[in-house]
């Protein structure tokens, strides 16, 4: 965190666009020295693009200062629930940027056999880990993996001639928002399944929905409460019995990696979030990668490309027979895939099993340390994360929002809040395995101290955070009078006219 120096400017008010001066430049571009070819006709051209004009040093200082106004995993504990903010090994960044990988052109896979070998072996490893042996690495993130999976189910149903009648996808109410959004993007309607008192799906409610109109169920394993979906195998069997598919959201694989395989549980297809379980840095919101792993029945529909080995040992990109098509112009987040491969090769099976073991132990340790101080709506053993409720504090007028803002003053990154939606004032904490016992204890101690503050002096928490480059920001103002670009509303009243659709 940066404390403002004496007389320091309002940093956020001065964008790069507002800095520097006309005529400054940060980089010298060579001039063409040869014979000049005339440019195209004037009506195809423009004058100039408005961009900042800074010296290189000014630009570097600006972005360095911006970086210092950010908190990352390398800064401290960042137990954002559902996100697996684990330590990102530096060697993975190094290998991903080896020139042979970095400069390989996507239109010539024949010349990128090294990359294809990695992708093939990664497909195999993810197939082995999930028990769903047919893998496409094409999806760019979890949500795109979901879309791929549900479209595959759609295509399979279409081929079976059942698409017309199977229009519904069942989604538990604890699910991540991408699940219902994906089902809708794939043309299905969403039926919500409530959560039972134990934090698992309400099996009776599920049973009541099961009929020939169901295309699939989407289930997160473990679920977003950090809990095991007890009886998932039977539920899957029930779904299969009515001819529907079971989609597994594998974003939480970190909890069970090496311990149980989606395929063995009756899941037909699952996506994984490589940026979570497999340690790619989250980059402030990507890039990620969301491979889909499918049963043999769904394999023909996998998105293109998948990597295959030819009889001569040459590797090639392949479009499965009934593929739903491509998801990106090229072959997916290859840089992320190389990192995931490096991670799996470093850990091996024993290392991966140590991941789930320690992720879960850390979460449970945190659970017992905090249980006396915060409400635990589902007081069970948890897996990789634990969802508390700030309802007790709410009664004192302190919201989950206030609690987490105060955590920032302790030098810690807050957990996820207000998700899952079914928990009141949810505080969803996922320490991951890369936090140490001391880190967990420090985190718990801060939350305990805040619980005490909430009793003693609830108003004070509303002032938090105090030690940050900016205090609490006015989010309502941001949405009500949107300023979404430089130069802002003074010069151009952009974003303020609201939605006017044709």
């Amino acid at each position: 965190m940066i404390e403002r120096a004496i007389g320091e400017e309002d940093f956020g008010a001065r964008l790069a666009f507002d800095r520097g001066a006309a005529g400054r430049r940060a980089v010298a571009v060579p001039q063409w020295q040869g014979r000049e070819t005339p440019l195209p006709a004037a009506h195809l051209l423009r004058d100039s693009v408005r961009l900042p004009e800074l010296s290189q040093g000014e630009l570097v200082r600006y972005y360095t200062a911006l970086a210092q106004r950010n908190f990352g995993v390398d800064t401290g504990s960042y137990p954002l629930g559902s996100c697996s903010m684990k330590y990102n090994p530096k060697v993975n960044d190094v290998v991903a940027s080896l020139p042979g990988f970095a400069n390989a052109h996507p239109a010539e896979p024949e010349a990128a056999q090294g990359t294809l070998r990695i992708l093939l072996d990664l497909q195999r490893a993810l197939g082995a880990i999930t028990g769903l042996p047919h893998v496409s690495l094409a999806p760019a993130a979890g949500a795109q993996g979901e879309l791929a999976g549900i479209l595959m189910i759609r295509r399979a149903l279409e081929q079976r001639g059942e698409l017309g009648k199977r229009r519904r996808v069942l989604v538990p109410d604890s699910a991540h928002g991408t699940n219902p959004a994906t089902a809708a993007m794939a043309g299905f309607t969403v039926t919500q399944i409530p959560t039972a008192a134990d934090g698992a799906m309400d099996r009776a409610a599920l049973a009541a929905e099961l009929d020939g109109s169901v295309a699939a169920m989407m289930v997160t394993l473990p679920n977003t409460l950090g809990l095991w979906e007890t009886g998932i195998e039977e539920a899957a069997r029930d779904l299969h019995r009515v001819g529907a598919f079971v989609y597994g959201d594998g974003a939480n694989l970190n909890a069970i990696v090496g311990r149980v395989r989606y395929g063995d549980l009756g899941i037909d297809i699952a996506h994984l979030n490589l940026h979570k379980t497999f340690s790619t840095p989250h980059g402030g919101g990507g890039p990620g990668a969301g491979p889909v792993c499918a049963s043999t029945a769904l394999a023909p529909y996998l998105p293109a490309p998948v990597v295959v080995e030819g009889s001569t040992g040459t590797l090639a990109l392949h479009r499965p027979r009934e593929s739903i098509g491509q998801l990106q112009q090229f072959h997916g987040s290859v840089g992320v895939l190389v990192r995931a491969y490096a991670y799996i090769r470093t850990l091996g099976l024993a290392g991966l099993r140590a991941v789930s073991e320690n992720a879960d132990l850390n979460a449970n340790y945190l659970r017992v340390l905090l249980e006396p101080h915060y409400d635990l709506p589902h007081p069970r053993r948890v897996l990789h994360e634990v969802v508390f409720s700030g309802s007790r504090q709410r009664k004192a007028g302190v919201r989950a929002y206030d609690i987490v803002k105060r955590l920032i003053d302790y030098g810690l990154h807050p957990p996820t809040v207000y998700f899952p939606l079914i928990v009141d004032e949810a505080l969803m904490i996922e320490p991951t395995e890369t936090e140490s016992r001391e880190d967990i204890e420090r985190y718990a101690a801060a939350l305990v101290a805040i619980a005490e503050e909430a009793e003693r002096d609830p108003e004070a928490l509303e002032e938090a955070p105090q030690h940050t480059p900016v205090g609490r920001l006015d989010e309502t103002r941001a949405a009500r009078r949107p300023v979404l670009r430089w130069p802002g509303p003074e010069t151009e009243p952009c974003g303020s006219k609201g939605t006017v659709e044709r």
Binding site: G72, F101, R485, G495
Partner: protein, 459 residues
């Protein structure tokens, strides 16, 4: 990973046996195995066939060996573009974007400690608006193609129509992705050869600029035709070309998408990528993806520091009611984790170049490409297909079938352009789509000319 007794199991996991023992005791469990007790017993701890673990030194060596298997490790001359362009990216870009506070953060849910990500995303939106000539932009989508698909879905939503038209020649990857997304949305995808083929069924026309064969389009008449048909004009751009070419927004485009990867870093076998997405302001609340807005502190002065009277400016995620985590099945998209780090790098590149540098870089690319084309066209047996003004890619026809020219160049250590034999455009058949960018050196062009001369001589 053969550990000592008592040791932490991997370099990434701090807890030792002693830590685990103490924690288990507190949790009330006898062993860590009990953590997994709720998992179905008969499925527990399955055999999983993975290769043995590698120490860091062996891992590095293993991946170096694999990287060397890629021809790209040899830095041979390349004339392959076709959607992935080897661009000049200034050293500051990599140096700044790699800062770990940027790299190891996630979606900025806590703005007070995420101003770095948020403010640079706002810079990104601003840069994209300036480049495209449109009023609003999001913080980026997966890639240019999926951004184009999202643009089609948006157009379908706002027009309530159920078909889109893709104007050929368009990159086949883009068309493929549009089809994938359209399948879910129940949209028909028509490939059209001219904007005149649009009908009242079409929600949008998608036009690539420059087109897939390299030719610079005049967007204005296409947009007019689309608008006349009640449809939107979606333009797919290569952002560097916008250093010279008219802003599509000024020419009538309603949505501009594009691929930002190549100005953010190396081509990297095509990914991760960066989808640019900008639109007219009326479509703001229909946009997919995350959007950052400027605001200010809730309270003015904060305790402690006397110097702070007026509220400070800050940035937050905004207009989130469009998004999946609030709207769920009624969201504008299921988009969640995107390509923030590439958006940051893209922004730094553009801001490092500035108005003058961007123009110079685009001009350098243009001049180098035209110079190389002129040299190739002058060779006996070779011709450059005339299709109108072009930017960096041209169709080269030789005395042999395209595949044979390609193979002959490969033998001489040169990565040729894309073989266009299977295109439907007559002028593309038997041609290679050759690409020259600002990073192509004169020596590389010399090597190409020498190789083409040799090929011409043999035939």
């Amino acid at each position: 990973m053969k550990g000592r007794a008592g040791a932490a199991p991997t370099p990434y996991i701090p807890n030792t046996d002693a830590d685990r023992a103490a924690m288990l005791a507190r949790v009330g469990l006898a062993s860590t195995e009990e953590l997994f007790k709720e998992l179905p017993a008969d499925q527990r701890d399955p055999p999983i066939d993975l290769p043995p673990s590698l120490g860091e030194l062996d891992l590095l060596e293993h991946l170096r060996v694999l990287a060397r298997r890629n021809a790209a490790a040899q830095e041979r001359p390349s004339f392959l573009g076709a959607g992935a362009y080897r661009r000049f990216v200034p050293a500051v870009t990599g140096s700044l974007a790699a800062r770990s506070e940027f790299m190891t953060a996630y979606t900025p849910y806590q703005p007070e400690i995420s101003q770095g990500t948020l403010q640079s995303a706002f810079e990104f939106q601003s840069v994209v608006c300036e480049l495209t000539g449109l009023a609003v932009a999001n913080t980026g989508l997966y890639d240019g193609a999926s951004a184009t698909a999202e643009a089609c879905l948006l157009a379908a939503r706002v027009t309530r129509r159920s078909a889109v038209a893709l104007l050929e020649p368009i990159h086949p990857g883009t068309a493929d992705v549009v089809r994938t997304y359209a399948y879910g949305a129940g949209l028909r995808v028509d490939m059209i050869g001219s904007a005149a083929q649009m009908t009242g069924e079409h929600a949008a026309v998608v036009v690539q600029q420059p087109d897939f064969l390299g030719t610079i389009r005049d967007i204005e008449p296409i947009a007019e035709t689309a608008h006349a048909a009640g449809a939107l004009c979606v333009t797919v751009v290569d952002p560097l070309t916008l250093g010279l070419l008219r802003a599509p927004g000024d020419a009538g485009a309603d949505i501009v998408t594009g691929e930002g990867r190549d100005l953010a870093g190396p081509v990297a076998f095509g990914g991760p990528s960066l989808g640019l997405f900008a639109a007219r302001e009326v479509y703001l609340r229909q946009m997919p993806g995350r959007i950052v807005g400027r605001t200010q502190e809730q309270h003015g002065a904060r305790g402690g520091d006397e110097s702070e009277a007026s509220p400070r400016t800050g940035y937050v995620l905004t207009l989130q009611t469009r998004e999946q985590f609030i709207r769920r099945e009624r969201a504008t998209s299921n988009f969640s984790t995107g390509q923030s780090l590439l958006a940051l790098a893209f922004t730094i590149t553009l801001q490092a170049l500035g108005p003058q540098g961007l123009r110079e870089q685009a001009a350098l690319c243009y001049q180098k490409a035209h110079n190389a084309a002129a040299r190739a066209a002058a060779l006996p047996g070779f011709a450059v297909v005339e299709r109108g003004p072009w930017f960096q890619e041209f169709l080269l026809r030789g005395p042999l079938p395209a595949a044979a020219v390609r193979a002959a160049l490969a033998e001489r250590g040169i990565e040729a352009g894309l073989d266009m034999s299977d295109r439907s455009e007559p002028e593309a058949r038997a041609a290679l789509l050759m690409c020259v960018t600002e990073t192509t050196t004169e020596q590389e062009v010399d090597a190409l000319v020498a190789a083409l001369t040799a090929i011409g001589d043999v035939t």
